[in-house]
């Protein structure tokens, strides 16, 4: 097979590459992809505070495969040893990219311009990098928003990413990563999440909540509302159903036909659903309903009263929808992207659609807690290739109750 590995490139990794497992991951990756490597030099730091350096020659049987391996190695922080500037090609038309465009990861990225490494503005995966050569600047850009003729980074020369440092010492966001399980002690994890939220809140950081309507069905609306009221939510993402169920609970005390006060099914629940939408449409919007004194409690009420940033993204299954819902999904994405600036922790509860949408927009460095009773959802959300995601297979209602209790206790500490 060796004879076929005709395409080669030299790369180097340096830093805490053994300690942080980057070198082992590089080995594994090359072999998994069907490539080979030959180690040219390896200097292993013998003590914890010494960095290591490895240079190796990577080879693959085709140029395409080699390129893909190099792409992946770059995502781990490897640098090509032939130092060249980033290459660009002009976008062929509005909203389209040159065929060989570089597609970003969710890690901080740098491009080499005139021999200097320059940070690319904006960290989000699957975007293009638009380079402003004269200004010596570069930024990420969604494909749909690239204009014809803009200089788009292509191939992989002159591009590098800055891998996340791995958390040490049993940090919860480290060890939970692979432990998406319904059989682990959740009380402890929830306590950690509460501490993290408290710390971020104390230092004025931003917390994002992505919430699904099942939270309201399960009677956990008051917990959610109290999180918002107590200032633990700075940005709220959801859909039409979240808002409608919340309004229904506030107006009629029900959620899709279940009386939230005594747990008994009330007839006409579905009717309440449509009526709740109608009340808000008649008022004009959620904000107007609050101002008119129609909506006086619940998650939407608290969010509007506190003036937090809220994005309600539409979906094809929406009833109504409420006037506050962004029915254009690309506009909703854009608003979510803006709202994410500065977010340090994302709590995603009981919604696959909005959580995946959010995950697509988040830098890898944002800590993420994904909660769902369905293991498949949690697996999908938690599998983002970073040590920053905690997946919890649990009951959203009981999770939120415990979280609110933990936050109160953390407060008291």
């Amino acid at each position: 097979m060796s004879k076929q590995q005709a395409f080669t490139e030299e790369v180097q990794l340096q830093g805490h590459i053994i300690d942080s497992l980057l070198l082992p991951r590089a080995f594994e990756l090359i072999m998994d992809r069907g490539g080979e490597f030959e180690i040219l030099t390896i200097h292993v730091g013998k003590r914890k505070d010494e960095t290591s350096l490895a240079k190796m020659q990577v080879s693959a049987p085709s140029a395409e495969l080699l390129r893909e391996i190099l792409d992946e190695l770059q995502a781990l922080g490897a640098e090509l040893m032939r130092a060249e500037d980033v290459e660009t090609e002009p976008a062929p038309r509005d909203g389209a990219l040159p065929p060989d465009f570089y597609s970003t990861t969710n890690l901080p990225t740098e491009v080499r311009l005139g021999g200097e490494w320059v940070a690319v503005d904006g960290t989000e995966m699957d975007l293009a990098v638009v380079v402003d050569q004269p200004a010596g600047r570069a930024c990420t850009r969604p494909m749909a928003r690239v204009r014809k003729g803009e200089a788009v980074a292509v191939r992989h020369s002159g591009i590098r990413v800055l891998p996340l440092e791995r958390a040490r010492g049993g940090e919860i966001f480290s060890f939970m990563n692979s432990a998406v399980s319904s059989e682990k002690p959740k009380k402890l994890v929830i306590r950690e999440v509460a501490r993290e939220m408290h710390a971020i809140h104390q230092r004025g950081g931003k917390i994002l909540l992505v919430a699904g309507p099942a939270i309201l069905h399960s009677g956990a609306g008051p917990h959610l509302a109290s999180l918002v009221r107590d200032g633990f939510v700075d940005v709220l993402f959801g859909g039409n159903a979240l808002a409608v169920h919340d309004v229904e609970a506030a107006l009629y005390g029900t959620s899709l036909g279940v009386n939230l006060g005594n747990g008994l099914p009330v007839e006409g629940g579905h009717r309440h659903h449509m009526r709740a939408i109608n009340v808000i449409r008649t008022a004009g919007s959620l904000k107007e309903a609050v101002e008119q004194g129609i909506l006086t409690e619940g998650v939407m009420f608290e969010a509007i009263t506190r003036g937090i940033t809220m994005v309600l993204g539409g979906s094809v299954r929406d009833d109504g929808p409420l006037p506050d819902v962004l029915t254009d999904v690309i506009e909703a994405q854009e608003r979510m992207r803006e709202a994410l600036q500065g977010v340090e922790l994302a709590l995603m509860i009981s919604t696959m659609l909005h959580s995946i949408a959010t995950g697509n927009l988040l830098p890898a460095s944002v800590r993420t807690v994904a909660v769902d009773i369905n293991p498949a959802v949690v697996t999908k959300l938690a599998d983002r290739g970073s040590w920053q995601t905690v997946g919890l297979v649990t009951d959203a209602e009981l999770f939120l109750r415990e979280l609110v209790l933990s936050l109160e206790n953390t407060d008291a500490e």
Copy 2:
């Protein structure tokens, strides 16, 4: 408790109400809701071809509850014995309804105008009924499209629905209803579905396919494409991901990084995904990509080549998206609503979002087959209160393979 049941109304049911279980269901419903009933007269047809008649007085402890019980009884086909015309009130503003609006079921509905029962045009649940008194007509209308001042049916007088007749004799769409199971013989069910599809196809009826992207991941794209090519799909609903995965498979032979030919993970799969989007955006649209000879196989190719009706609805998690995707979800709903006219069978495979969206728009009379490997999804889709839904917890790839084989065999019969 009896003293509290102060609010009463007399209703009657007639027809094959014992045979079709409508009477028992009415009893059950009243009791479940906390109401009571007294049977005034009951005439039971003793032979199969005799119809029965039951009159009863329904009572409830509150006017609201009585009204809700009557709403539900109406959905079973009960008629109020005091015959009155439908009541209407004007819509208070564009896109909003009078507070007491009647919300439709997914059954054929009639309103009483000038003493005559008139069919309401359009069968879809959760809509308003707009009445044109002078013209003696009425039609369903989404809340968002009602204009200020239009006469909207309110409360429940003068409204009745026509319940579905229950299929007899072990018909598959009857017995499978409550049998959403992964432990039943699927081969037989699939054979029945194939026969139904074949019969509809032969008589020029329309078949709708609602398809999720997992079908493509699992390598079942060719089966889907062959269904379209052989004319068994007249309308296709899906999202951006369905189309993108299909294009990726057509252009690169992969789906999110898995080579569909040998099952091995190919590196750069995620890149292929973005590249596929870019190729279509560069071409202008899926149709243009077909015309330019770029897209030469797959589900999209077949659908465009055959000119079937296709609606790709956007979602907030879309990458790109493809130019063919309707990014405004309300516009997408409207297009889906139009495309559903005349559909006799809906096949919903591996997509909760688009299947629920479609289910919201479908009359109860359209036979529906919901397929997913996740039992929770199937339960949700199959639970539409009619005998017309078959839920199958199974593997979409293997289901489609078997369906294509069954259709071939049915052809040969």
Copy 3:
């Protein structure tokens, strides 16, 4: 088709058959099975306190089918109108029954002996009824324990069951039956369960807990232990793993390698598992380990200290096992059967194997709460054809925490 319905039998139902939905269920059943019915007389009680009476002729195209329909009707409380004594045939050999044996339901049953209806001793499904004609007595008996020559009830004459009365007025054990859902408010259900447990405990009734090992993994062992310590568990069923994980937690503070104190994975967890088994085997038994002061806390410690009835049934996947585990499954069943006498409420948490085993042994009248995070398990457990089962799809850890809190609050009321 009517001509084929050559086999007929007359049956009657009486009592609150409309009110309790027995008549509708009878109609539904006959039709679902492919039989037909002709109503001979129907007298409907017009007020709530009047009973109703219906006589009908049931027909089916084969004797076998008719017999099966009659079996099912009997399970609803229908009586054959030709009054005959129960028929018996001798068992052909030890542990085997005559071919036409009557197989019990989980409802109280009576047989007609010398013209008198006699209660059958023991209520458990799928058993034989052994009749002692001279003594005028009958009892249920597992097939394996019937001796050659004993008189076993056969066919369906002279046998009737006493259906459960349906609970009214929104009682939790009534309305939850069909509502196996992860989207309903659990807090309320848990409160109801706590009240029921408290009431049973107060009146000296017996509560059964069937517990799976996942409870221990999830750190909820202390909640379980406190339930036992506070006297809310009179009978405990589980397997080897439950006891081993509990012992591991008590001895080492871990469960399968996870430190239950700080949530971090501890190395050697699997080793702890085997070591825990070895410690108990070395001590001789769980009881001896308690007496020797080796085991000083946990569920097993509390159960042994309080002297409650405990059955640990073996399974082929057991490690060790502990000396206290009954490795013969039929012996385990027998011990479970004895221990169930007098149990009024069964709490089944996070174990499909032991819960199904228990469900097989329980009379329908025992209220059952089935808790699991996997909806498929809850559906299977809750589907026992009675109104006495509440299924909860939720997190066992958080459920138990909430239950303990609710019991404390109930106490304080």
Copy 4:
């Protein structure tokens, strides 16, 4: 923190330790467990056919933790550099081990006796190693079968395991390991499994099938029977329900009340279940039922007719059970252990209980295919720490149909 790492030990790894990822795994493990390492020497083979050698000093803050890290490193193939013989202590009583007993992995193990490395007889995890010093031999032994006074290996000196070589080049049993998914192309995986089965069958190797009763419910019994008849199953493991459902299908054409011929629910199915058990109990056993011409088709018939090894293990939820079921679970384990000798491939379909039981007994080197529609089950089964397990989330019925077709095609090649 470094000062606390007071306990140290030197270890070495050699061979294809980079190529096979053993070195990276060792790094990861030490760090995950809270230990540290210092690399003393590292020689990296630069070409594929050169082996590498790494020596390092491993340290940990406690003797216990160090010991656990070393245990884990040993499981990867690391050797302690101070070469000592295995230590033993006598078993304290029948069925119990010395407290520090060495607990086996599922990898081939060697102990050092008189300076020589000697293979330990029998490969199975969680067993003790009993050493016969005079004879220079050692063997694995279940805890329960160790007799008082036997010399049991303790701690970790003088013990090493031989890690599995990692398969290369896109081998299906390599890449599928982490790819337990319902969204991957199954057709290709099934083809590979068929090829593997065919190859093993051709060379006279042994194939084990572990089968759950759901296979029969789903109408896939004939596929299973054909696998047995065509010689692709040498050993069959299952439980009472598997055999009972198979007998029910053979005698009555039903499975728990579903007619397997037309898919319609037949009444009296549950009765058929008990009757089927009774028929076999009356005949004496499955074998006698075959000999008496009562049982003439199905999986049990084929298995008995071909004389393959079959172990039916009992469980507490068994009805009956059939006389052929081993009601003592420890005896069942012992029989399974014997039957596993020489098995090269294990197919586990739709049974968690028996699959986990089997997995506990299997050496890591036996290739395993785990099939279930429930992802949680597949995850649990596939997570056995080797590259030898393929997990498939799919429909067992359609899987078996496809497998039988693939085997026929493989035959024809």
